[in-house]
């Protein structure tokens, strides 16, 4: 099963990038989706734009709508290093240097022709499904898009889990919004009548994929970890966080991925990196916060060059937290969508987020916590310094803090980050030496 593919990148200097088979498969799925999206004007498909946290892909598919995720587009632009010029373009037309760079990348991309990663123009959305979940910026982002597209916009408000629990009031509120506002509007926009059994079928598929994803993520409990649950994890979450959750394609992909990972597990192999199999696993880390996408590989390399593998991360839970038992439940189709939205990582209170990170450090036997704090993402970043201290206190493991940005290349300082990481690895070594000496 395990096959690795060498891909020649177009960027200078020309270098072969190693990808495992699941990454190649995932890339093909994403490419096919972009082709479907950009062909919408010819095929007559209608398009719904929405967000990764609170992504209601199963529901969207019930109306034969294609799901377009502006965050994912911004990530693609970050990885392709086009986001920097888009951010500048957005600032030029009046958007503040202080705000979310996903938003500015998206608006800048629109201003420069709205070209998708396949080189074709994105279709205008027929509806903006403002799934307002875990991030204040989402609300303003879609108001900004609505101003441009002048299309129907649906607000689905997810209350915040400030007290660390989901209440009946929250579920009732969300289900009522779904029944009385979201579904009727999607019916009107799409011209397709809602069929709850169709939703149930999609939710069944979601559950299968979620089971396999969790097995993949939890494989990192093994030493050495067969996966990198942050840098590699970002590839793994692509289909389920994006336009594929609830599809057979996603079920196939996650089965394929699980088998691939299980094979690596059986062989005692570590993760596949862009430079091939990782060497000896020296450090096991938990990471909090999104990555920097404009220097993604350079950032990753700083870890695998040192033998550091990320065994768990919070970022790979922004589109859904599945590893503590939640699964979409086809028997309660609307309630389960509400519960899913409520439970995404950034909709959890700070104490809940800390509990999760502490749990990861303990369960995955990590050496410590690294926080990559994102300049333009207050949802993640506000409070991270307290989180760091609290996790250190509760686990006795060292934590470190680096800063960068999502898709703005101006805020990625490789030398600074590398210095901090090197110091951090030394700190872990010293901590281990201390423990060994005490033993």
């Amino acid at each position: 099963m395990t096959t690795q593919t060498k891909v020649v990148t177009s960027r200078a200097p020309v270098k072969e990038v190693v990808k495992d088979a699941s990454m190649v498969k995932q890339k093909a799925m994403m490419a096919a989706h972009y082709d479907r999206l950009t062909s919408a004007p010819e095929t007559g498909d209608k398009v719904a734009a929405t967000f990764v946290p609170g992504n209601l892909n199963e529901l969207i598919m019930c109306f034969d709508l294609l799901n377009n995720l502006p965050e994912v587009n911004a990530i693609q632009n970050g990885l392709r290093r086009t986001s920097g010029s888009f951010v500048l373009e957005a600032e030029k037309i009046g958007h503040s240097e202080d705000v979310c760079t996903y938003v500015k990348s998206d608006l800048g991309m629109m201003a420069k022709g709205n070209i998708a990663p396949n080189g074709k123009k994105f279709p205008d959305p027929d509806v903006l499904l403002l799934s307002y979940t875990g991030c204040f910026t989402f609300m303003k982002w879609f108001e900004l898009l609505r101003e441009q597209y002048k299309c129907e916009t649906i607000m689905l408000h997810t209350p915040y889990m400030g007290d660390g629990k989901i209440t009946k009031n929250m579920i009732d509120y969300m289900v009522k919004q779904l029944k009385d506002e979201v579904i009727p509007t999607l019916e009107r926009v799409s011209g397709v009548k809602f069929d709850i059994d169709r939703l149930r079928e999609h939710l069944k598929q979601s559950t299968k994929a979620e089971d396999d994803l969790v097995r993949v993520l939890q494989s990192a409990k093994t030493k050495p970890s067969p996966i990198d649950a942050y840098f590699g994890g970002i590839y793994y979450i692509g289909p389920i966080f994006g336009a594929f959750r609830g599809t057979e394609d996603a079920v196939d992909y996650y089965r394929f991925l699980r088998e691939e990972v299980e094979e690596r597990l059986a062989k005692g192999l570590g993760p596949v990196t862009p430079d091939g199999d990782m060497g000896k696993e020296k450090y096991r880390l938990v990471v909090e916060g999104p990555p920097n996408y404009t220097s993604f590989r350079q950032f990753w390399k700083m870890f695998y060059d040192e033998g550091a593998v990320i065994v768990a991360s919070s970022y790979t839970k922004v589109g859904g937290v599945y590893d503590f038992g939640f699964r979409h439940d086809p028997d309660k189709p609307l309630e389960t969508l509400a519960e899913y939205c409520l439970g995404v990582y950034t909709n959890r209170s700070l104490p809940m987020r800390i509990d999760m990170l502490v749990n990861y450090i303990n369960e995955y036997e990590a050496d410590g916590l690294l926080i990559n704090s994102i300049k333009s993402c207050n949802s993640f970043s506000a409070g991270q310094l307290l989180m760091m201290r609290e996790v250190e206190k509760r686990t006795g493991k060292p934590a470190a803090f680096v800063e960068s940005d999502l898709v703005d290349p101006r805020y990625f300082s490789a030398a600074n980050i590398k210095n901090r990481l090197e110091s951090y690895f030394q700190m872990i070594d010293q901590k281990r030496a201390g423990v060994d000496a005490a033993a």
Binding site: D98, C100, T153, K176, S381, A382, Q384, L385
Partner: protein, 395 residues
């Protein structure tokens, strides 16, 4: 020029309000609490909480809007990265330094992710203080957002009842609604008076008057407003050749008082603003008869201020509140003043600017922090704006 009968009356009231503003130990609220055993104080942050429920529990609602430019932030900076606004770090400073150690509870309204996350930090840092993230609906239908909100209000009522050891009755709530209705009417009167005669109610004075309402019991604050209005009406002051502007974006982190003064000194009368919105969030009286929580909910859903923290369901309505404010107050321009790193104000700004542009209303924009010290650039910018407005008006 005519002189007032009692020229010191206004100055005396303003001085008292200024002392309340400058007191970072909240002495008046401490005294209020100490005056009777069992009294409790509930702090709240911007942008809106239903203070009626706190008042109905016999507690003092205490507005916490950061530390201003006189608070040295020593501990608070250790909790926040440089790219996060100033208000959470100075609020943490107030907490860690013991300045609000008499506060029995804190409410963190739904305004942005920073204040939202601060609610969790507060729970961890001050575990013995009642602390609640106060969520409000972004859906304005009575049977959807309204039901959700009434249930949230019910929870808050229950919690505060528990805190005082006795449930809050409907009659207590009605009395509190009446007290706040009167207070809001007075604040609106004050704003209307300033709109009419801005030279007699300078922006900094109006700010101090309204700000006093964050620390005083509502009845006392209403008395203060009445006295100020009477004194300000009676005192003739020289009218300057200033233009009239609406100030927007200052609904959370507060500007230094000097900044507000600087705007007027540089030629801009502030005839409307979105400072301290909690004092006039509800734009009309809340009904007294009937279910008080339902009445508070209806007022929130249908008669509350438009601001960046709220979703605007109707694209055609987006930004129109600002256009209406300009027309209502006969303003000649808008100044966008946003705290650095403020997501709501800065994300909203381009949309509002587009609306103003379409309406032919001139505007300028700048950023500040609550501890901004250099006013010269702001004076120059506001002064140039005022000059340009006068030139356009003359043309």
């Amino acid at each position: 020029m005519a002189t007032s009968l009692n020229p010191s009356a206004t100055a005396d009231i303003v001085e008292r309000a200024n002392a309340l503003f400058a007191d970072l130990s909240f002495t008046s609220a401490r005294r209020w609490k100490a005056a009777e055993p069992g009294r409790k104080v509930i702090g709240y942050m911007p942008i809106y909480v239903p203070r009626e429920i706190i008042h109905a529990a016999g507690m003092l609602p205490l507005g916490i809007v950061g530390g201003g430019d006189q608070l040295e932030v020593i501990h608070g900076d250790a909790y926040y990265q440089s790219y996060i606004c100033r208000i959470p770090r100075s609020t943490i400073e107030l907490g860690v330094s013991g300045r609000i150690d008499f506060v029995d509870g804190m409410l963190f309204p739904s305004i942005c992710d920073v204040i939202r996350n601060l609610s969790g930090m507060w729970k961890m840092m001050f575990p013995h203080v009642y602390s609640r993230y106060f969520d409000v609906p972004q859906n304005y239908r009575d049977d959807i957002g309204g039901n959700f909100y009434v249930n949230e209000l019910t929870d808050l009522r229950h919690d505060l009842g528990e805190l005082r050891g006795k449930p809050i009755t409907d009659d207590e709530l009605r009395e509190s609604i009446a007290a706040y209705n009167e207070n809001r009417r007075l604040v609106r009167d004050l704003y209307a008076f300033r709109t009419e005669r801005p030279w007699q109610a300078p922006a900094a004075e109006v700010y101090l008057m309204v700000r006093a309402g964050l620390v005083l019991p509502v009845e006392e604050h209403s008395t203060m407003l009445r006295e100020y209005l009477a004194a300000a009406r009676a005192e003739e002051r020289p009218m300057r050749d200033n233009c009239r502007i609406v100030l927007t974006g200052m609904f959370c982190e507060q500007p230094p008082l000097n900044l507000i003064k600087s705007l007027e000194l540089s030629g801009c009368y502030v005839v409307d603003d979105d400072l301290l919105l909690v004092t006039r969030w509800l734009t009309g009286d809340v009904a007294i008869e009937g279910d008080p929580l339902q009445n508070l909910s209806l007022a929130f859903l249908h008669h509350s201020e438009s601001t960046a923290a709220k979703y605007e369901p109707d694209q055609k309505e987006k930004g129109q509140h600002l256009v209406r404010a300009v027309k209502r107050t006969a303003a000649e321009g808008v100044i966008f003043a946003a705290p650095s790193f403020c997501d709501p104000a800065l994300l909203e700004r381009p949309m509002l600017q587009h609306v103003l542009k379409e309406a032919g209303i001139p505007y300028i924009a700048f950023k500040y922090a609550e501890n901004s010290g250099q006013m010269q650039p702001i004076r120059e910018q506001a002064g140039t704006f005022a000059d340009s407005i006068k030139l356009w008006s003359a043309a």
